[in-house]
């Protein structure tokens, strides 16, 4: 496997002495400060980031070993608590100064990541855009007339623009995967409870109970970097989900479930054109393609169940209108759906599905159209009901607008590393091109 990704490249630079963490971090801070268009970062911590970088440089000079994320410039979704920074869900009333890092943020920091600032979100994290009263409107770096998606849209845009090399998103109905797909970066939505969601708004920052449907996970430009971020973010406390070691070795002979056909989940033709090309390339690479359709996740009653579970997830300070008995019945029903999905995919090694059936819409379209919002969330919501790990990565640019098109690589519960290693193999084999930082059109 190739030694890819920006973390490996950055560490080579640091080890050789070609640049210090302070200079690299300083360049990123300057680029974000100079930016007037993309507006991905809402709360820049210039002094804190430079101080962290200087401390890392001193440690390296003293011969201390590099942490796995040593000197990596990252942003953190505004809804995660970062000690000393403003944490919010995009609305001034929700903004508070966090006293301690969220556990996931603390893991990044302990591994040597340098937190540049917070990435923008939509109000209440509700929407597939990132336009908030607190942070303004974040645009898609590939086309400023289009949205970067949401709710981790500032994260997607910051990474695509080359401002930061990683971020932590959170995902209830696609909030990691939609912006990753729209911006052409990589995101991983982990197995439930693999990464801590404590210290994350709109849930109380000091709550010990974690919401059971949504998940927190890493975003970065390449799968290699997402793999490394995921290994750092993986929690080690007694509530951690057991994550299995990798079982997949190579693309040739791999049994790949190709899941593209469910009611109400049709892709736009320009998205299908890219996916057709990608699936053909999978076959050329020696994968055994197994079509999947009409699964338990696509049924209307499953969509209704997911909607009720979302309502429970958000009703953390009220009864949400549902009886406790109904909530228990829905949790039980979700277990049934998870078991049926697991049986459906038992004879394949991995599943490939669309990430989002449309490319990044224009700013005004995405907020105005309820039907479009339903389509955008459809593929993410189906996989979230199964609580399974998914890695989203770009597989090409659409022939009409030149915008990124992405797939989900879906593994069984607890097999996050299989999803990631498959995604990595696709990037290494050139089947899924990693888009260049800046993501600008080549003249």
């Amino acid at each position: 496997m190739r030694d890819g990704g920006s973390i490996a490249a950055l560490h080579a630079v640091y080890r050789s002495g070609a640049a210090s963490a302070e200079s690299v971090i300083g360049e990123r801070l300057a680029a974000i400060t100079a930016d007037r268009t993309i507006r991905a970062v809402v709360d820049l911590d210039v002094e804190g980031a430079l101080a962290s970088a200087r401390a890392l440089d001193t440690a390296l000079d003293a011969g201390e070993p590099l942490g796995p994320l040593h000197g990596l410039p990252v942003t953190v979704k505004a809804s995660f608590a970062v000690a000393g920074a403003t944490v919010s869900v995009g609305i001034p009333d929700t903004a508070v100064r966090a006293e301690v890092d969220a556990p996931a943020v603390a893991r990044l920091r302990a591994a040597g990541a340098v937190i540049l600032g917070s990435s923008n979100v939509p109000p209440m994290l509700d929407g597939f855009h990132s336009d908030s009263p607190l942070g303004g409107r974040t645009v898609n770096p590939r086309d400023p007339s289009r949205t970067p998606g949401g709710s981790s849209g500032g994260a997607g845009a910051a990474i695509a623009a080359g401002f930061s090399d990683g971020d932590i998103g959170s995902d209830l109905g696609g909030s990691i995967r939609v912006p990753a797909a729209f911006c052409g970066v990589v995101g991983h939505r982990p197995s439930q409870f693999a990464v801590s969601k404590r210290g994350h708004l709109p849930w109380p920052l000091d709550a010990l109970v974690e919401p059971p449907l949504s998940a927190a996970g890493p975003m970065a430009r390449t799968v290699a970097d997402v793999q490394q971020l995921f290994e750092v973010l993986l929690r080690v406390d007694p509530e951690a989900t057991g994550i299995a070691p990798v079982t997949l070795a190579e693309l040739r002979g791999l049994r790949v479930g190709v899941w593209r056909d469910e009611p109400g989940a049709e892709c736009d033709p320009e998205v299908d054109a890219v996916l057709d090309c990608f699936v053909a390339a999978l076959a050329d690479a020696g994968c055994v393609l197994v079509p999947l359709s009409g699964t338990v996740l696509g049924r209307p009653q499953s969509a209704d169940l997911f909607d009720r579970l979302v309502a429970v997830e958000l009703a953390f300070t009220s009864d949400g209108g549902a009886s406790i008995g109904q909530v228990w019945a829905d949790w039980e029903a979700q277990r049934g759906v998870r078991a049926e999905w697991a049986a459906t995919v038992a004879d394949v090694d991995i599943v490939i599905a669309p990430a989002v059936p449309v490319v990044a819409p224009l700013h005004d379209e995405v907020q105005a159209d309820a039907e479009l919002r339903r389509r955008i969330t459809r593929w993410s919501a189906m996989t979230n009901l199964a609580a399974v790990p998914c890695t989203v990565l770009p597989v090409g640019l659409d022939p009409v607008h030149g915008m990124p098109v992405a797939v989900q690589v879906i593994a069984p519960f607890g097999r996050d590393r299989d999803a990631l290693v498959m995604a990595r193999a696709l990037q290494d084999a050139g089947l899924a091109p990693a888009l260049a930082p800046g993501s600008v059109l080549l003249s």
Binding site: V274, P399, G402, P433, A436, L442, S443
Partner: protein, 174 residues
Amino acid sequence: MSYAVYLAGPEVFHADVEAIAEAQRSVCRAYGLVPISPADKGLEDGDQSLAADDRIFANNIEMIERADAVVANIDPFRGPDPDAGTAFEVGYAHGRGKPIYAWTADTATAAERVERLHGPLHTRADGALADRDGLMVEGFGGPVNLMLVSPATVVLGTFEDCIRRVAADIAARA
């Protein structure tokens, strides 16, 4: 299913040819196309019994033969016209029945290019538009000579715009 495009153009004369070629290859791959760049082959490739110039010629012909289409940069090169090597490659590929896509970011017409890069135009006694040497300047409205425009799909835009057009045409056929 894979569709290969030969990337004709004067990029090979740039000092940073490899960086330009790699960026162009990346764009092709992002749109699902297989790039064939003249920079893929160096003097160490091909029939070593041939003189260097003949070897480059043979290598380029071999790469065009492998391509499904030619994507040609027809920006002005050392004057109002495109690179001569590129013009030859377009003609050769057309003769071999391969689709031609020609791109230029310069939206001026051929006549405007002559005026800008060769010298002022005037109307000759016979009514034809002519250059400073009294030679007729064609007025068909295309960006370059009609022999390059006529066989090609001309994209007035960036390299990526042109590659996206190739991908869109393939998707429309599928």
